[in-house]
Each structure stands twice: as C-alpha cells, then as structure tokens.
Symmetry: C3
Subunit: 389 residues, 3 copies
C-alpha cells in the first residue's frame, strides 16, 4: 500500500478509452502486393531507422548529463509512447489535414516525436517524469497545427507545395528547439540557473553512441518520404553534409576552446543533418558539403559562445543546447533553400519560417506556464528522486 | 601449456563434421531477379533487424546484472551461434516439417535463437559458459518439435493454419520462458536462492540500451513473414501496443513501488510486443493499444509482485524475470487471440497453448536435470571466474 | 583568444573549395521508379547497415582501450568524414576506374572507409587527432589504386573479373590491416613499445557492443552489391561463417589461455566475416562453416600467440590487433577462394593477393614516415591531452 496506488486507475482509463474509440485510428487503404506495396515496405524500413534515432539516438545523446542518464532514457520512452499514438489518433480523425496512408502517417508521427524529443532536451533534468508526458500532450497538437499551415495549406496562409522543407529543418528541428526555448524561458527558476549541467567520461561515451546512431540513420530520416529513384541521391547529400559538419566541428571546436569538446563533437557534428534538411533532395553534392560545413561551424559557435549569452538573456537553461544543434542550424537550412532551390517562392519560404518561429515560441511559452503549475524536481539532474536502480 | 589445451580438438571436430555433411544444409531454390526476389530481400532486411534484437537487444538487456555483463554478452554470442546453424541444419534434413526457402528458414532459425535467449535469461549467471552451449543443443530440437506440432500439423494434433500466432506470443515467448522456468526449477541450489541479483546505474544504462533496441526492431520481428501489403499495418499495430505497454509500465510501477523501477521500465515496456504477437496482423489499432496496456500492466505486476512468490513456490531463481516479460504476457497474447480474431477456432488455439505449456515445462525440467550433472559456477553472477578482461 | 584560433580558416577553405568544384561530384544518372530503382533502394538500405558498422561497429570496438574511448570515437567520426567525400570526389573525376552510379559509388566509398578504420586501429592511441585526418588523405588514394588494379583492370595486371573477392577479404580487410602494419613499423617509438594497452570491464563492455554491431550487419556488408536473388544465400553463408568463428574463438581462447579473453571474443568472433568475404556468394553452407571455424581459430591464435612475436619483430605496436582480425583471416579467405570457387584462375587470384600485400605494406610504410614528421601524442592512450569532457 502506498500513496501512489491510485495511479493504477490510469492504465485502466487508457485501455477503456481506446476500447470506445471505434475505428477512428484507421488509415486510408493500402495497395495490393505490387511494386507500390514494395515501395511502402521500403518506407516502413526507413521508419524503423527513424525509430532507432528516436530511442537510441535522441535517448542516449541525452545521457551525457551525469547521474541523470536513467531518467533521460525513461523520459525518451514516455515521450515517444505519447507522441506517436497521439499523432496517429488525431490524423485518423481527419482534422488538421487529410488522412494519410498507414506508412506515411506513421513516418509523420515519428517526425512529431523527433521534434518533441528535441524540445524536451531544453528543460531536461528539471521536469518530473509525468511532466514529460504532459509536455507531449501539449506539444503534438501545436506541432500539427504548424505542419498543417506550412505544408497542408492550413488557414490558407501558404500555398500547397510552396514551402520547401523535405527533411524538416524548419518543421521538425527549428520548431522543436524554439518550442523548448519557449518552455525554459518561463520555467527555469533562479536556483536552477546556478546549477551546472555536468558530464563525465562514461556519460560522454553513451552520448557519443547516441550521436553516432543519429548520424548514421539521418539519410533515412531525410529520405523517408522521397520517391524511390531520388533516395540514393538524397541520402548521399545528407551523408556529405554530415561529413562536412563533422570535420568543421572538430576544427572550430579546437579553434574556440583549445581542445575539442565532447559536447561539440557529439552534437554539432549532427548539424549537417539538420541544415541539409530543407534542401536534401535538391542541393548538388558540392552545395551539400558547404551547407554541412557552415551548419557544423554555426552549431559549434552556438555551443561555445552563443549559449552562455542566450541563457543570460532569456533567464532559462537549455540543458542539451537544442537551440545550438537544432535551432540555428535549422533556421539556416530553411533560409539556405532560398539560395539553393531554383524556382522557389522566396515569399512563401520566409513567411513559413516566420510562422514557425512565432508559433513555436508562443505555444512553448504557454506550455511552460502550464507545466510550471505542476511544480518541478526538488533536485535537478538527479535520477534518485524518481528512479529505483 | 595448460589443462584446457585439449579443447583445441573441438573446433577441428566442428570443421570436419561440416566437411562431411554434404549439401544437407541446402535450402529450396529461390526465385530470379523479380518482384519475388525483391520481397525476399525485404524479408532478409527484417532478418537483420531481428539479428540486432538477438545480439544487442537480448544481449545487453541481460547486462543489468552487475559484474556479469561480459559473461552475459559472451553467452549471447554462443547461444546465437549454436542455435542458428543447428536450426538450419535440422530443417535442411527435412525432419520436423518441410524444408523452407532460404530466407524464411533463416528467419525461423532466428526465432528459435530468440526463444533460446529468453530461456537462458532464467538461469543466467549460474551456468558455466559451455553449459549455455549445451542448453542450446537441447533447446533447439524441443523448440522445433513444438513449432512442428502447432504450425506444421505435426502428429496431427492441430490442423494446419488452425493456430494463430503470427508474432510468436506462444511459440517463441511463452515457450522460451516456461522452458527456462523448467530449467531453474530443478537447477537452483539452496545457496543460490539466498544470493540477490544486483544491478547498478552503469549496468542499468546498458540494459536500457538493449531494451530500446528490442523495442524499436520489434515491428520487424512480428512482421518478418507477413505479406508486403500487410507489413505497414502490422508494424503500426506493434508500435501502438508497445507505446501502450510503456506508458502503463510507468504508472503501474510507480503505483506499486512509489518510484519507477528500472527493471520494470527496461522489461515490462516490451511486454506490449510480446502480447501483441499472436494478433499483430489482425487486431485493430484500438485493440492493439488495449492489449499493450494490459500486457505492460501484467508484466509490471509480475516483476513487482508475482516473481517473489513464484520463486518461493518453485524453489528456483529466474534471474532476468523472463516469466514476467515473456511468460505471462505471452500466454495473455495467445489467449487474447480467441477474443480478437474473427473466425478463429477456439479449440485449436487453447489446445495449442496447452501443448506449448506442457512441452516447454517438461522438456525444460529434463534439460535442467541434465545440465545439473555438469556442475555449476562456483561464484554466481561473477565474470572473473571464466573471463579475462 | 587562443593560439588555435587560426584553425577557423580550415572550415572556410573547405567550403570555398567545394563551391568551386563544379559538378565533378556528379554520379551517373539513375533509373526511374521501376524494379531497378527499388533494388537501388535496397542497396541504399544495406549502405546504412554498413554505416552502422563504420561508426558504432568499428568506433566502439576500439573503445576497449581504457581512458582513450572518447578519442577513439572522435577519430572514427573524422576518419569516416574524410574518407567518404574523398572517395566520391575522386571517383567523380573519373580517374582510377570508371564513374559509378550513385548508390554503388557510395557503398564503395564506405568500403574504403572501413579499410581506413581497420588501418587506423594499428596506430590507435599514438596519433594526434589531425594525424588521423592526414592518414585518411594518404590512405584513400592508395586504397583506390589497389582496388583499380585488382578489380578494374588497372595497369593491365589482372584481367577484369579475374580476381574473386565479393566481400573484400583482400581488398578491404587485408589491405587495411597491412597498411596499418606498415604505418606502425616506422612510427612506433622505443618508449611506446613498453607501454601496455590496457582495458577494463567498462571499456570491454562498449567494445562488445561494437563487436556485436559489426557481427549482425556483416551480411549486408558482404551482400552489399550482389544481385537480389543472391542476397539471402550470401547472407546466410556469412552468418553461418560468423557462428562457426564465434564458437571456435571461445574454445581456442580457453584452450590457449585457460579462460576466455574478452579481446578474443570481441575480435576473433568477427574473423568468420573477414574470412568468408572472398567466397561469400559461392561457398556452400558447409564450406562457409568450415571457413568460419578456421578463420576464428586463426584469429584467436593470432591474438594469443602471434601478436607478441610480430611486435617484437617489426618493432611496432598494433593497438587493436588488426593483423590478427583482418590481416591473417583476410589473407586466408582470399587464398581459400582458390579451393572453393570452381573455375577460378589461380594465377590471377594469387597475383592479386601478392599485389595487395606489397602495395599495402609499402604505401603504409611511406605514410608512416610522413606522419612521423608531424610528431605524436605526448601521452599515448590518453583522452585528456586533446579532449574536454
């Protein structure tokens, strides 16, 4: 018997609500055993790669926080498990855009989960476990509104197909990071501002594992929904951009700090993937390399220089530095499309970026206000308060 | 020179026996470069996902045992390496069911290896390394007999196609877990009953890595052999079930223990995959979510409450709690098929489950008796006895 | 402000050079959305598996060195990021063999990166970080010359198709290992010869993770470029060989050392993949098993016995024992093809092996001489000199 026994009511409520939800989860019908069904299985296959990024990638990248690694992966489990069914459910209702076929919808649900995990990297270590679930409940609908406006012609603000963002530099990365910035602007307490976020060799080693898993599956993330004949070209673009970012990160990190920082290496090396997102299927290989180098350099500069200043400015701690990895490189990637893609509508592209920035910051800020009502961890960045080894 | 030098004879014997085995390993001929060969490559691709589950998934999930992590992964290597060639060899001989085409047979061999790894989780840490190999030698034929009876019409007990178990809730999970229970019933010594199985933050972190690798590739496990046009729907069902189980595990663990236990989180979150197995291609998404929630809740209750009582009852230690993760949720999944699948033969389904229970417990018990003849580790749960760092 | 600030010029130079490189990166045009484009996506998919081997596989296998794990994975990042664009760029120029289609070229670039990572395992821990990049710059063109001579009819030494090495026993494994041996022959200092390479339980655990990731994706490495209808058979051959090597490694290790060594287990278990390379699509399953058993036994013998003698002979330290894992088993695999493949030209096969041996040792030796000019780490096998946690 203990005071948490009442929580048992929650799984029961979940099961009952699902039982009465009829078939509103249903996707559009799929094809028979044809070339089309085979390409759908190939999309499915990329969806598994993306799932590896969500769980092992983002999950273990966040393990760099010393003594908070078990919480980080537990939070990852919960965030993924709330985001994916919620996205599928809402899309199945046919609101916020048209119902998709099964595999496309699943991939889009994973993208929403990716954006949520990015967002959660900002307040990581200062939320109680159920607050991550709440964060997911608020985040997913906001994310879907933004997606609907930018890609689905929602509210008639951007014409269908007018916004270029194949791999989600803006929709997934910048949106998630800025939403997270909004959350920490309102939630960080005075005392938390003074506590350093520490790592050690063991937590850095796990973090590099997460980083590498993200790096290697990134081509499948960007090429998830492109046509089969475009997949190899897109994938190679993403790899070349990541290579450029990785090398740039090393040199910029040593230039700015004297030695290479594991935080930079584990994170900024990935900024090539973030920045190439918008143009991954349209840039030439040379352009992809340049975008990667600049993305990596920008991200490293963010970790080494911008982050300290920004945190003083907004009075909020961005635990994982998601603004440096996903925020600035994401915005850079979205803007780069204006110069890289021939025939692009500059107006629609910049308008879309502006909408994403405003929407993410505002909804993030409001979400932070609501989360703050439910208190916070007594001892930040510490597993022991909520976890039994 | 040392007393183990004679062991060198074993690899030689292995090579010689293979040399004289002719082509009895041969599979049925495959197709040419067609839509069929392309779908076979897609099955191959899922077979790699399953291999990731076998080695990194099961292997690292078992690393939670403090100071026994190196032995756990070594045992995993040996168990996989004995099970897969043995299954392929026996199927190639054409006994215990018809010979399969190459890729199907390989996937079925992996399933046998999965079941064996589940089984080995029960006595983990108390067997000497060569005893794991012996366990594999006894387990695989028993597993194949059960598979032959339930799916292949063996002995005429269950009509072909009468038993519903696409993702192996009964054939793989419950069979392996109950075989393991049979082994530990007879093998656990008095002194071992008093030694606690301990973990720490580092071993839990590796265990969560294994858990996540299992979680993310589970859709490929369940959809391994389904038709291409069914793969996306099946995969999404599995993911939804896992999401339900993960959320349920969190709340039930906190409800029963006051904090969330890493053992519950790393294991019971996977019970959604175990429980949805039988009906993964037939349940609706709503049903999949309910099955996941109930599977996760049942498994967590198993770890928190049932395990202690069961171990007292059978006088055996189930090191990894495989009965809680694979046993009860597996049986639950197999029985759930009776309610979920329209047109199912309730008689065949329940008869099949009964056969699997009896066969696994009896053959496991006998295998335990035989293994016990070869002694056991002097110091349980300790790497140093058999391993050089 | 610090003395490394000038390094900032490097990423800028990289970006500028890419901007002026025109479209020389371009691949040959790909097919439309057809059965052919679908099989290209399947190759792409195997390329992701190979990428997992490069980063998580080779990267974490090298983490076994205590206190040098963060450097090992950082070096892995840099080596992959230099090798892949460099290979693509050179092939795009149309020198050293014909230009390939996008996905084939990417896979071949990954093979070059694999060979480079193998090579880097020899001097691991004694090079400064930028020296790994230099090593890559020298290695890739040498590798491509060897590839061009053995497979592309370069210099008219070996007729097109005369050399059998589908999975790269010689081209990738032996070449990389012997190049590495060449490097350490000239580079190892007197004082370094006396410093032991140490591991501990934590670093061994990460190393086993890398090992397992290599093991499980190895079938995709060997089957990367084979025709769809050959993929399942080839993959099963590779798995059977790995199983044979894993079991052989265990018994030979215990026979030679009294207990099983984690170095042997993590490394020699993979020798089955190395040795089956040349004949992976042509050996029968029985032959594959024998090749695996012999490869694993040879590799274990290498780690336990040969390595110490060899290091005394060449006055060089092979940190990761790449000669034992990739060198001798690679040569064995290449020679085994003479006995296994019907209709093979023994002359061409042995001539090719001879060329690879001479070319790798000589170019490695020269590269080592050049690298030595740039000094070396003050404190070998230590992260702190170059890394900020």
């Amino acid at each position: 018997m203990n005071k948490y026994r009442w929580l048992l009511v929650l799984p029961i409520a979940l099961a009952v609500s699902a039982a009465f939800s009829g078939n509103s989860w249903g996707a559009e019908g799929g094809p028979g055993a044809t070339l089309e069904s085979v390409t759908d299985v190939q999309k499915y296959n990329r969806s598994i790669h993306v799932m590896a990024m969500l769980l092992v990638g983002f999950g273990f990248l966040m393990v760099f926080v010393k003594r908070y690694g078990l919480s980080a992966v537990t939070a990852t489990y919960l965030l993924v498990s709330i985001a994916i069914p919620l996205y599928i459910k809402i899309n199945g209702l046919g609101i916020l855009g048209e119902r998709k076929i099964e595999v496309d919808r699943f991939l889009l649900a994973e993208f929403a989960a990716a954006s949520l995990l990015i967002c959660a990297g900002a307040p990581l270590g200062r939320l109680k476990m159920p607050q991550y679930l709440l964060l997911g409940l608020f985040f997913v609908p906001c994310y879907m509104v933004n997606e609907w406006i930018l890609l689905g012609g929602g509210l008639g603000l951007i014409p269908h197909g007018g916004f270029v963002d194949t791999g989600g530099s803006i929709l997934i990365h910048a949106f998630g990071a800025l939403f997270g910035l909004g959350v920490v602007m309102t939630m960080t307490t005075e005392s938390e501002l003074k506590i350093p976020v520490e790592s050690n060799a063991a937590s850095d080693q796990f973090s590099m594992l997460g980083s590498m898993v993200l790096w290697l599956f990134w081509p499948s993330f960007c090429a998830a929904l492109v046509a089969p004949e475009q997949v190899p070209f897109t994938a190679v673009n993403v790899v070349i951009s990541l290579c450029g970012a990785t090398i740039a990160t090393y040199f910029v990190s040593v230039a700015l700090r004297g030695k290479v920082s594991m935080t930079d290496m584990a994170n900024a090396a990935l900024a090539g993937g973030v920045a190439i997102g918008s143009t991954c299927d349209r840039a030439t290989h040379s352009m992809a390399f340049i975008i990667g180098v600049l993305g990596g350099a920008l991200s490293t500069y963010g970790f080494a220089v911008i982050q300290g200043k920004l945190q003083g400015l907004v009075k909020g701690i961005d635990t994982c530095g998601v603004t440096n990895l996903h925020g600035w490189p994401g915005l850079f990637g979205g803007i780069a499309a204006v110069f890289v893609v021939s025939g692009i509508s500059m107006g629609a592209q910049l308008k879309g970026i502006g909408i994403a920035i405003v929407l993410s910051l505002v909804t993030g800020y409001i979400t932070g206000k609501i989360l703050a009502v439910f208190g916070r961890k007594t001892k930040p960045y510490d597993d022991a308060e909520e976890i039994i080894e």
